[in-house]
């Protein structure tokens, strides 16, 4: 335990020293610091030691109508360098994106399928997820009778909790068909949330706090809801059981209902994105207290550093809970919406 505390302390000292090195001379820009962390980038920045920047270069994949497909390493574009006419735009409409400057001097964006920091993080997290689930499943393939212990037991606890208390309750009869999808969504979000909280290399990417990721998840849920919708579900949307003046000359209720069909997955998308992004932002903001207060003298800086570490640690604990809650809420609401779409004809009618 003491050894561990010593190691943490050492890491802390190193990080403070490191940060001091970085930002002591220049004015610390909190906004760009935070946005560069929660946003995406073409290389995975790890740290800076002295003058040397340590980062993982990632493949850039671009498809342009003039140049065709070009694949190269992102380190070629470091610090504003240009390669084959491509460079990372610094400001304007395409800030921090790769643009192509044509002969006429006009900038345009090629189709950008680069494996960015978030893409790589997604791939890593997916691999983690696959390893976790498949290794648990392989245990069940071997042993069919006894109850699992340790890791598999923990996985079973999580899986069966979601399966029995969320999916089964929300969808009801015939839930088995949807359980694999909802469990995949739950563990996908959970693993991505947890990995996002690890502050160094294989983790730390803001995947579930990225709108593209939550958009795909919400789109999948939307597709499942729509495809599992019964006749009664669509009837209640297009011709709801309300006084006919609310739907005949002006389709008031149908319009509201159709709007509701899209707001449900939209809310799912925004909720997950906003929660995770906000968590990252708060932690980064608290961390940047260390660097912001450098200019205020050693004593203030030291005090604020202590406070910042305490608050960051507290926020990380909160974020651990949030990571689980958001995965849970997304799964629960998806299950509830699917359950609602499987509505049968009411007995009252």
């Amino acid at each position: 335990m003491q050894k561990r505390i010593k190691i943490y302390f050492l890491l802390f000292i190193i990080s403070v020293f490191n940060a001091g090195n970085l930002f002591a001379a220049e004015q610390f820009d909190v906004k760009s610091f935070i946005f560069s962390h929660i946003g995406d980038s073409y290389e995975w920045h790890i740290t800076v030691i002295g003058e040397k920047e340590i980062s993982v270069p990632l493949p850039v994949i671009l498809i342009d109508k003039e140049n065709g497909i070009s694949i190269f390493v992102s380190s070629r574009l470091r610090k504003g360098a240009s390669y084959k006419g491509y460079r990372i735009s610094e400001k304007g409409e395409y800030a921090n994106k790769i643009v192509y400057t044509s002969a006429s001097g006009k900038e345009r964006r090629p189709v950008d399928l680069s494996i960015t920091k978030n893409s790589l993080a997604l791939i890593i997290n997916c691999s983690v997820l696959l390893i976790l689930i498949l290794s648990a499943a392989s245990w069940y393939r071997k042993d069919k009778q006894s109850a699992p212990k340790g890791f598999v037991g923990a996985m079973e606890m999580f899986i069966m909790d979601i399966n029995d208390n969320v999916i089964k309750n929300a969808i009801g009869k015939g839930y088995e068909k949807y359980a694999p999808y909802l469990l995949t969504v739950f563990f996908f979000i959970l693993i991505n949330n947890f990995m996002g909280l690890i502050p160094f290399f294989p983790g730390g990417a803001n995947t579930t706090g990225n709108i593209a990721v939550t958009f795909v998840l919400a789109l999948c849920t939307f597709a499942v809801i729509s495809f599992s919708g019964t006749k009664e579900y669509w009837k209640e949307i297009l011709w709801p059981n309300v006084p006919s003046w609310m739907k005949v000359p002006l389709p008031l209720m149908p319009a509201i209902e159709i709007f509701g069909v899209f707001t449900k997955p939209f809310a799912l998308m925004i909720r997950l994105f906003a929660n995770i992004m906000a968590g990252h932002t708060i932690i980064l903001g608290l961390t940047s207290l260390v660097f912001v207060t450098v200019a205020m003298g050693a004593a203030t800086n030291m005090g604020m550093t202590m406070l910042s570490v305490l608050l960051t640690a507290f926020m990380l604990f909160v974020e651990l809970i949030v990571a689980y809650i958001q995965a849970y809420v997304f799964t629960l609401l998806s299950a509830v919406f699917i359950g609602l779409s499987r509505v049968q004809k009411h007995a009252i009618n």
């Binding site: 997604l122 696959l130 689930i133 359980a179 469990l183 995949t184």
Partner: protein
């Protein structure tokens, strides 16, 4: 604002990785786990039910054996009682029979004795008769020598007693 616009590259990689993960995990991951947990649940329920049935059966058997023992004991008591009764009745009937037999024997002996007695009496009587006849003969013989009147008497007597009347 750029935070709210989904990036096409990331969308592509997200679709790809999530699709692959979903395909693999929903086919080889979760169904295996859910199915075997369900199988285990069924197995546990079955085991519990079996245990309960076995317990009930055991109790049933126990009560059955108890009742069997009780009935056997009852039977035993009955048999003993019956045997006692039989014994008593046999003894009684044997006694009765013996009494009857002795009675009969005594009776027959008495009859025999009576008969014997009667026979003896008859014998004695006939002996006495013979004796008296002898004596009478002797008497008569002596007297006959003396008088012919005696001869007349004899003939008269003979006539009186003999079945063959002249």
């Amino acid at each position: 604002m750029s935070l709210l616009v989904p990036e096409s590259g990331l969308l592509f990689w997200m679709c790809l990785s999530f699709g692959i993960v979903f395909f693999i995990v929903a086919r080889y991951g979760f169904p295996v786990i859910l199915k075997s947990v369900e199988a285990r649940r069924v197995f546990i329920q079955k085991s519990l039910d079996d245990a309960n049935t076995a317990k009930a059966m055991l109790e049933n058997i126990k009560s059955q054996s108890d009742s069997m023992i009780a009935s056997a004991r009852e039977e035993q008591m009955n048999i003993i009682r019956e045997a006692n009764k039989l014994k008593n009745s046999i003894i009684k009937s044997a006694n009765d029979e013996a009494r009857e037999l002795t009675k009969k024997q005594i009776e027959s002996v008495r009859i025999e004795i009576q008969n014997e007695k009667e026979g003896a009496m008859r014998d004695i009587r006939s002996q006495i008769a013979l004796l008296s006849v002898d004596i009478a003969e002797k008497l008569v013989r002596t007297e006959l020598k003396e008088s012919p009147a005696q001869m007349q008497l004899i003939n008269k007597l003979l006539n009186e007693s003999s079945p063959f009347k002249s």
